[in-house]
Amino acid sequence: MPTLLAIDDLHVSFETDRGRTAILHGISLDLEPGQTIGVVGESGSGKTVLVRAVLGLLDAPFAIDGGRIEYEGANLLEYGEAELERIRGRDIALTTPEPRKHLNPLTTIGDQIAKVIRAHADVSKEAAMARAVELLGMVGIPDPELRLAGYPHEMSGGMCQRIIIAMALAHDSKILLIDEPTAGLDVTISRQILDLIRGLVRDRGAAALIVSRDLGVVAHYCRDVAVMYAGRIVEQAEVGTFFRQPLHPYSARLLRAAAAARDRAVGRAEATALLPPALDGCSYAPRCALAEPACEASIPGPAEPAAGRWVRCLRAAAIAHGEVAV
């Protein structure tokens, strides 16, 4: 399969009054046509920063410190604003988990969607509005004609979210970067939207990166999964094998937490989730039950302890072979 998008060793940092903080420490990820990768991980681990970096949407004080993002033979990190504008929303579409922040409070929903449509399609205002009605219908907003005249503050949280998703679907983009599509949506609407994305990927050869805190979404709608922790992908695998046997201790913990969430009988959460990551050695070490002195000495590089499984953990091979339990 040819690669649609290749992210290679991406480093991003953030400047504060107290100096530079590294946020992404060398992310590599390839996306093929027809593929859907679920990106899961701790809140604050850099998922949103990652997808925004692809479209050059990180403004100062964020800085790209290195890496390549290859799309159609070019490195997007070398694109200027004009070149980025040409592909944003057309070749590569992005949704945001904070929809209200990205909608203009002073403009009607219809005008905002029409603007997105007309940015890359030479159509009349009327045609754009007709397409907007269609898009809102696709994301399950009833009475779309009437809603187009409304303003963002008149919409519920979930409706704003769906408006953002509708905009991302406007141009049959080849790459969909979907950040938290279902946070704030009820499960029935979520499923409708995920089915829609699945259809686009399957029928049009698009590819999607779905960032989601919801492992249920990943289990049922993604082919592969990438787990992020403190700015690194700590595990990448095909969904079926991942859910059967997670290999990184953090992944195992995520799956336990997700299973526990279903079950009232399960006791309290493992109370370590909110410990800050370590800066030296394996960033998960402060929380890891399997940590050994070696884990604090060096940062584990990606290794392939089993076919098709990429893991950043010194003990991954032992875990894969069942010598230690996670």
Partner: protein, 321 residues
């Protein structure tokens, strides 16, 4: 205190659109929350959950209905007396970023309700802010940072810290976990449960996160198009939802296991809108059980055992099915 902490009775909220039309966001909603009780409000996106919460905080004026808090008529209250009451009622907003003012530092944001409450001096307030930031595990070291320096999940915890600072009696939590990953979420849910056990605070827990609801709440109210269609004890509702919308909602949960089959009970058809509310039962166009009477008449609330109440013409008859 005798009687419920919060009693919402016949709440209606319509937003006018133009001369002819209005959004009928909340249509005759009633529920009660006891001291120390957690009630979940779940339901379709746009069904009126946030609007209900905003009415309770008096952020918007209801079209009709009554809201009593600790026996007092909230809606009839002078602004002055309501302000005095505000430290006792707090809200965690659905969109965390939106509700945190970008120019204030985290410490000041969390301190603000304490200042408004006016009961503590500066030193005491600072201690309290540090304590509560530790409690939500942001750490008191974050006090001097600004909201935009945090991810959405971290901002959500700032919102929770701010709401809890005054040790309120009632917190309206609007989607408090939507930006949290599962492991952090589990801890935040434990935190909310602990606070309830320790401080006796009550929650109106608005959420699409049904597993969180199951973990935290005593009772659940399910909304569809501006009405509560079913209420009952949490476990009983999850085990045996009686209303068709509740059935569809609860059976759509995507379990984090690719080998569990996707759900069975689904609703088909156009989703109606609160601008053009359907006649009769709001669900009839999508309901697999609909009969002609469903199109004519909105079903009365029927009381079942153990505090269960359902609005459906056929729920009792289909309860065994």
């Amino acid at each position: 205190m005798s009687g419920p902490l919060l009693a919402v009775d016949g709440l209606v909220k319509h937003f006018p659109m133009d001369r002819r039309r209005k959004v009928q966001a909340v249509n005759d909603v009633s529920f009660e929350i006891g001291g120390g009780e957690a009630l979940a409000l779940v339901g379709e996106s746009g069904s009126g959950k946030t609007t209900t919460g905003r009415c309770i905080l008096r952020l918007i004026q209801p079209t009709a209905g009554a809201i009593r808090f600790d026996g007092m008529d909230l809606l009839a209250m002078e602004p002055r007396s309501f302000r005095a009451l505000r430290p006792r009622i707090q809200m965690v907003f659905q969109e965390p970023y939106d509700s945190l003012s970008p120019r204030m530092r985290i410490g000041a944001i969390v301190e603000e309700p304490l200042k408004l409450a006016g009961s503590a001096g500066p030193a005491e307030r600072l201690d309290r802010v540090a304590e509560i930031l530790d409690l939500v595990r942001l750490g008191s070291g974050t006090m001097n940072r600004y909201p935009h320096q945090f991810s959405a999940g971290q901002q959500q915890r700032i919102g929770i810290a701010r709401a809890l600072a005054t040790r309120p009696d009632l917190v309206v939590l609007d989607e408090p976990t939507s930006a949290l990953d599962v492991s952090v979420r589990a801890e935040v849910l434990d935190l909310l449960s602990d606070l309830r056990a320790d401080l006796g605070v009550s929650y109106l827990f608005i959420s699409h996160d049904l597993t969180a609801v199951r973990r935290v709440c005593d009772r659940v109210a399910i909304m569809y198009l501006g009405k509560i269609v079913e209420t009952g004890e949490t476990e009983a509702i999850f085990e045996r939802p009686l209303h068709p919308y509740s059935r569809a909602l609860l059976s759509s949960v995507l379990y984090p296991d690719p080998e569990v089959d996707l759900p069975r009970f689904t609703l088909e058809g156009e989703i109606p809108s609160p601008i053009n509310l359907p006649r009769g039962c709001h669900l009839h166009g999508r309901c697999p059980w609909a009969e002609s009477r469903c199109e004519d008449r909105y079903p009365e609330v029927e009381r079942h055992d153990a505090g269960r109440a359902v609005s459906c013409h056929r729920a009792r008859e289909m309860a065994g099915a």
